[in-house]
């Protein structure tokens, strides 16, 4: 699994870049920058995890990409468009964003209205809106909830509505800003499932801020922010073998990795597993 991740990573790096940052800095107060001189490139179709301790500026960094916050310095290019005053509209069409709190991103009074909010802003024809409404609510399994109020939905359902609202606008890049952190375990697994399917479709570049080990492990590449700069750009496997970095980013190893390590300490040799299932299969073939 990790090998295939690497392969995908290699393939992806041959794809054209959709996000390029060069020398980007940001600070509310110019004397106290939150981060400085960040340069990176994300290729089309990649699934990238952005990790780091709370308050290190992960959310701020992704908000610079579609100008929700104004960068202090540097250059940002999204889908070949230089980020500036004139291009903000087109860049926002290319980037969809799912936020942490499922309640606060629910704009409409019902599920249908919430999905339509973005589509009406794109000035689509009613026939096209109806079509997308059907396709994306089916895809996320919320077609039966169309006339529900946010108060009648669970956290996981609300987050699926948020994702449907974003995907219906058909952006090439989807950013998840700790989208699973307020969800329970079951809804979290559902979200991971949705992400896997999005990757399989191959249409989306995914940038995901997360603290969840399973989510990081599922991605192609990890970017770690630490001390106002980019501390690492590596594969998830490399991240989880680097104790120092895990410590800096306040991250925990996936459970299967921890277990494998403990087993190795007592002399039971297991390779590093990609998942719990793989570990079980290795131990009891």
């Amino acid at each position: 699994m990790i090998e295939t991740n690497r392969l995908q990573n290699l393939e992806a790096s041959e794809q054209p870049a959709v996000i390029t940052l060069s020398g980007v800095s940001f600070g509310y107060d110019p004397k106290q920058p939150i981060f400085q001189d960040i340069s990176l490139t994300i290729a089309q179709g990649q699934w990238v995890s952005l990790v780091g301790a709370n308050g290190c500026g992960k959310s701020t960094l992704v908000k610079l990409l579609n100008a929700l916050l104004p960068k202090s310095d540097g250059e940002i290019v999204v889908c070949g468009l230089q980020l500036n005053e004139e291009n903000i509209g087109s860049i926002r069409q290319n980037i969809g964003m799912v936020f942490q709190n499922p309640d606060n991103q629910f704009i409409g009074a019902t599920v249908e209205e919430d999905i339509l909010f973005g589509l009406e802003g794109l000035c689509l024809e009613p026939i096209e809106m109806g079509h997308r409404l059907q396709v994306y609510t089916d895809k996320l399994g919320i077609a039966h909830l169309l006339d529900k109020h946010p108060g009648e939905l669970s956290g996981g359902q609300k987050q699926r509505v948020a994702i449907a609202s974003i995907l219906a606008m058909e952006p090439g890049i989807v950013i998840f800003d700790e989208a699973s952190s307020m969800l329970d375990e079951g809804s979290r697994n559902e979200l991971l499932d949705i992400l896997q399917r999005m990757r399989a479709e191959g249409k989306y570049t995914i940038l995901m801020i997360t603290h969840d080990a399973d989510e990081i492990l599922a991605s192609d590449r990890v970017l770690a922010l630490y001390g106002g700069g980019l501390a690492a750009d590596m594969t998830p496997a490399e991240l989880f073998s680097n104790d120092d970095l895990l410590d800096k980013c306040n991250l925990r190893m996936p459970f299967s990795w921890q277990l494998a390590r403990e087993l190795q300490k007592v002399g039971i040799n297991t390779d590093v597993p990609a998942s719990e299932k793989e570990l079980i299969e290795k131990l009891w073939p």
Binding site: I95, M97, N104, F106, I107, G108, G121, G151, I166, M169
Partner: protein
Amino acid sequence: MSSEKLLLGRTIETGSWVHKLDARGKIIGMLLYVAVILLSHSWPAMALLAVFSISVMASTRIPLKYFVKAAKPLRYLMLFIFIVQVLSIKEGEVWLTLGSLSLHQDGLRLGAFSVIRMLFLVSFTALLTFTTTPGKLNQGLEGILSPLKKIGMSPDRLTLMIGIALRFIPTILDESQIIMKAQASRGADLAELPLKEKARMLVSLLVPVISSAFRRAQDLVYSMEARGFRMDAPRTRYHRLRWGLADTVFICMFVVMGLAVAIL
């Protein structure tokens, strides 16, 4: 959940002909209904009003008890108005005298009229929110206010504001409940305090509720902007308002009623 207790603004879907009417027609109809009520001054007019109102309410196929429930919170106000009317109007035949107080026929009649009017006003206009989703209602309001664009005002801003307010009222109410419980769990129970202390405690409830509302607002702005929202930018509509024959009939019904009660 507290939001479920709020009957106001809850749509009850039955698919009746009233549900299918244009929201603009329904809003205009309700305004005309207020005029009809104010024009009703006699027992025959009241009777006609009752027959008309109840048959329209019944035609929505929503159980009548919901309409009664909508008026229920105002029962004490109605009683108060009745008593004031009865005691203050000293005209017509005297029916009963108790010391300095006397009960006059006209007082009783006008008191009863006030109560009937209020009852029908509140329960009948609930029909608007029962049969129209907030979104459609808002769109109807935007349609009615659209002439304001000519004098440089922007009705879409107003309706966006109303839409977001309606969307967040239940959320913020729920949150106030949670904060109240959190405070009660630390020994500051609002329910057990004397009135003066209650007022003081209310401040300590309002501060966290308002500050969290601001935080929500910031999140909401991010979410709206990320979905490409710009104020006054052109938008298309998925649901278009369509004025049909039924809407004209609906309006005409109220005009005819107005004429009828004015004559009676």
